[in-house]
């Protein structure tokens, strides 16, 4: 030890031109966007994950930024700490602001991740930033059609049973493929589970 952690501060309302410039139409390159599927990627089912961030009055938050981090179709992360580090072109990171969709949704195009094999069901890791959040929030998106794997997931099992459904996105089939709906509720009886990892 020796140094103390720098305090977090809110992202505020004006991040878009710095962090999500392409999505919002600012003249600056972007390091990542809401389409996580690189050209030429072969493996993985294409899916869409979408939802709103709702405040304590159920009003959609239109100035949030949501980040996504996930494994590839084989459950491997593109990072050296994963002993089976991914070798596909899939980077696994996406980012979307809620300020460009008329319904204030985030809309993520990605692939369905595989299970990472450490007692966890397939999931997408989520980081949420917004004006009014002094510290970012961690949550996870699980998939409703992975019932068996979800029933064995160590993290889901650590969550009180009545709150688990806040982490599981229902699936529906559309002309363009599978869509998972995942609203994030910041407060209230159905408040999404946020983790302190």
């Amino acid at each position: 030890m020796g140094r103390k952690q720098t305090p977090s501060q809110t992202i505020g309302p004006y991040f878009a031109y710095g962090l999500t410039p392409r999505q919002y139409g600012y003249p600056f390159s972007a390091i990542a966007g809401a389409d996580m599927v690189p050209e030429g990627l072969e493996d993985g089912e294409r899916i869409r994950v979408q939802g709103r961030v709702l405040d304590g009055q159920d009003t959609p938050v239109n100035d949030a930024m949501v980040e996504f981090w996930q494994a590839d179709a084989f459950g491997r992360y593109a990072h050296p700490a994963d002993p089976q580090a991914s070798n596909t072109p899939f980077g696994g990171f996406g980012r979307c602001g809620t300020g460009t969709d008329p319904e204030s949704r985030f809309i993520l195009d990605t692939i369905k991740p595989g299970a990472a094999g450490d007692g966890s069901a397939p999931h997408i890791n989520v980081t949420l930033f917004a004006r009014g959040l002094l510290v970012h929030l961690f949550t996870r998106i699980y998939f409703a059609d992975e019932q068996d794997a979800n029933a064995r997931d160590t993290l889901l099992l650590a969550v009180p049973e009545e709150r688990r459904r806040t982490l599981v996105a229902p699936r529906r089939e559309t002309d363009k493929g599978a869509v998972y709906d995942f609203d994030i509720r910041l407060q209230g009886p159905a408040e999404t589970v946020f983790f302190d990892f």
Binding site: R3, K4, S8, T10, I11, G18, F129, D196, F197
Partner: protein, 232 residues
Amino acid sequence: MSYRPRDWSTQPPLQDAGYKSTGLRGPSKPLVKAPQSLSELTGPVFGREVLGTLDSDLTRNGRVKGEPLGERIVVTGRVLDEDARPLANTLIEIWQANAAGRYIHEVDQHDAPLDPNFFGGGRCVTDSEGRYRFHTIRPGAYPWGNHPNAWRPNHIHFSLFGPAFATRLITQMYFPGDPLLAYDPIFLSTADEAARRRLVADFSLEVTEPDFALGYVFDMVLRGRDQTPMEG
């Protein structure tokens, strides 16, 4: 290996009476404490390949037909973990208001001029010693709607990834001697005064570039490694 927990004695709360927007947005249920897994020990890796040539020079990356107005500054420092290990090759993104206190973001309607030659966004990657360096313009203060006559102190927003999903941080850098710090609920939301002080850069004559720009030093500390075995 895992990362040390977030040190809540140095972090602001989710609900803060002074900062109004937390009222409907800060979660009301306690966070669920959870062990770290591969999902948190890995994270996105961005290197120099994402950088454009002017990305770390905000005095140049928004120029249209001249120089931006305002006081040129250099902001430099190191990104370290709690054991003072430098965090090399980590991406830093920044954004800020212009010298008049106006953001280029279209939802900012503060009645202060935009600067046609200043964009306000930039990024860089730390070197092998965890060091970064930006050239920019000192941002102005601006009013906001939190309470009557509320003004944000001069600040630059910083976004960092660090080595893993668990180490992500977004923060703000403030300037020494700013009288508005004493009135700013966002700055004051961190209860610990010593922790707050770490959000304020130091002026440095050594970093100051003669005949060009004033120098400020701002180090940032991310969660360190915990060598005790991973739970779960």
